[in-house]
Symmetry: C2
Subunit: 404 residues, 2 copies
């Protein structure tokens, strides 16, 4: 593809106008929206309003003027992106904390089923939190196996199959419906981690009969650094599952100030403590943006951006570890390179922000709301040139930063 061909695609792009909603720096091609989505102008305004008017002027009164309902309100706004009903989603805490709540609740349903099945190489916090969750339920254990052994690992001892829908390294995507059906066939619940899926690929949790899901809002949803996460509990489970983190915000009557815990009906029982409102404020308009977005256009543009980067990687002789079938992947592309860390740093110096994942993965997020085809073409060209200049990747890129 030539630059002119990329520009022609941009001219016909129905999502092109969305770029203006984002406050991206002009000297950067941002291919890390799968790690931290960028700031929207609306989120910037919402944060300022939350600080100055809601907190500064309205003070404590703001709890009655929108804050207290924010977890439920934001959950309802997120629900369409998950293929869920509005009352099945709540926003709050971290993905890790929500995983813990969901896992412990699922493990307590049936004393004969005390195994969490998951995948080795899953995003670490999923496995780490599962270790913590099984330690809270007598007899429970975590069975983490390679992907090829997952189905065989399910059995009549399985409480829950916990999978990350889109893999954070390779972008490989599980087929949501069939894997949910496999869990159910074994008598287990299905818990999806959608951190790398929501806003990246179409989701239909209700149609797939999924039971539980969690995910983060600071990647493709552009909610801001450490934005509150979400939890989905299918309607049919809402009165049967209870949170082990039985904090006052999940009480049926939090302001009755009673000694005994009594879980709220519906999704509110999954709340724990007071939500971080400035971070919630940033997230809300970022969710609102999606009401204007055609998901089919996102999917088709995402595939076009992928193809541009894939061609650049091929030109640079970089092996791609992401499936080339759009239906089998999320919305990032990953290459292997023996000096992937140094390469990522060198690209950042040239204005292309992607990221590195241990040990040798160079990862680029493909985010159709704010990346143009020309952006992808330029990034690909810089990738090709940088790899070609490899001897130039000298010792100053040898020190790893804490987060890349």
């Amino acid at each position: 593809m030539t630059r002119d061909e990329a520009r022609a695609l941009d001219d016909a792009d129905p999502l092109a106008a969305m770029r203006d909603r984002f406050a991206l720096p002009s000297d950067v091609i941002y291919l890390d929206g799968n790690s931290l989505g960028p700031l929207t102008h609306a989120s910037r305004a919402a944060v300022a309003d939350c600080a100055e008017r809601q907190w500064g002027d309205r003070l404590i009164r703001s709890w009655n003027e929108g804050w207290i309902d924010a977890p439920v309100r934001l959950g309802a706004k997120l629900a369409p992106l998950l293929g869920a009903a509005a009352h099945e989603v709540i926003v709050g805490d971290t993905t890790s904390a929500n995983l813990f709540k969901a896992l412990v609740a699922a493990l307590r349903l049936d004393p004969a089923r005390r195994v969490v099945v998951s995948e080795l190489g899953n995003f670490p916090t999923d496995l780490h939190i599962a270790e913590g969750a099984v330690a809270c339920v007598p007899g429970a254990e975590l069975r983490a196996v390679p992907r090829a052994d997952l189905e065989a690992a399910l059995g009549d001892d399985t409480a829950v199959l916990m999978l990350t829908h889109v893999h954070y390294k390779t972008a490989e995507r599980f087929d949501l419906g069939p894997w949910t059906a496999r869990a159910h066939a074994a008598g287990a619940l299905m818990l999806w981690d959608l951190s790398h899926s929501v806003g990246a690929v179409p989701l239909a949790l209700d149609d797939a009969h999924a039971d539980l899901a969690v995910g983060c809002t600071y990647k493709y949803l552009n909610g801001g650094p450490g934005a509150p996460a979400f939890l989905y509990v299918a309607d049919r489970w809402q009165h049967r599952l209870e949170s082990p983190l039985s904090g006052w915000m999940g009480h049926a009557e939090p302001f009755a100030f009673t000694d005994r815990y009594r879980p709220a009906p519906g999704m509110k029982r999954w709340l724990v403590g007071t939500p971080p409102m400035l971070s919630m404020a940033a997230l809300e308009p970022a969710l609102d943006l999606w009401a204007e977005v055609d998901q089919a256009a996102v999917a088709s543009k995402g595939a076009a951006l992928f193809d541009i980067l894939l061609a650049a990687g091929e030109a640079a002789s970089l092996p791609c570890i992401t499936p080339t079938d759009p239906a089998a992947r999320g919305s990032h592309i990953s290459f292997r390179h023996p000096h992937a860390y140094a390469l990522a740093q060198a690209l950042i110096e040239r204005g292309v922000i992607g990221d590195f994942r241990d040990p040798d993965i160079l990862r680029f997020g493909l985010t159709p709301l704010y990346l143009s085809h020309e952006d992808a073409w330029r990034a690909g060209e810089l990738l090709r040139q940088t790899v070609a200049a490899e001897p130039w990747l000298g010792p100053r890129f040898a020190t790893r930063l804490a987060v890349t």
Copy 2:
């Protein structure tokens, strides 16, 4: 006291200049800083910088430019207010989540000690979370008793005594050292909830040999709505206690992305998921403010503000349920009134923001950093007038809001 006498106290007030650091509305006397502290100009600027420069311009790079260390850095800034060493405090999650972590960890230390002792009428989330925590440890139970029975409730089955240092309704204060010693005499750990203490009264956790403490930062510390909470673990326990919420941010090497959880050394092991950075950003300068504050001046001004409100309450024949001995209380004053809810609402209409607590408590926070003696005098005068006009408290104040 007359208005002129109050003004004379203000003229001699060494804390008077601190008022200018706060963005308080001019038409309000804010006596609810014990529920939500007000915005400082520095926090407003920090939030804008976090949104616009750190998130908007620096994007993912900000994780390496201050974000990743924020929980530890803010913990170190908070430590002096707790009488703790910098490495004993971490900022993150909610008070409720931190209580859960601390309680489960303490309950796992010794199989012969599986009882959490606490007080009936404690702030609800403490008891609710304790219910959740004991359900995660086989054989564990919560023993909640009236204050008078606390000492007798301690025994050789007690893992931890969990007390809220300053009571959220009455402001009654436990004596930190002697109660910690009582827990230790029974062989139990001492866990303090300092939500209504920190920034309100001097604290000396290390001197008292406390083991664990939690608390919130959005009250007297002015960290912002739902600002991240804190956790204190005494140095001697740091390598012996582990968090049940074993999320990736608490891993020894979070970016090595390993399958098995291995807790970080020191306080980082208590981290769970990605922290909400906009809310962290607001908190940091609010903590910095305290480095300029003389704690003795805060205590003595707090006592003077208390006396002004107490006199007004007496003039209005309102029974005060807060101890009149400054050493026996926190920094709020509570009165009983059969129509306390309507009275609180009527005062808000007159520009005096205090709050109501079920069933009949009218509560005023006394915050020497931004309240003048004249503010207290005016609030007292409006309280007296409003009570005198009681028939005027009509049906439009009968509907309770969700949060007051």
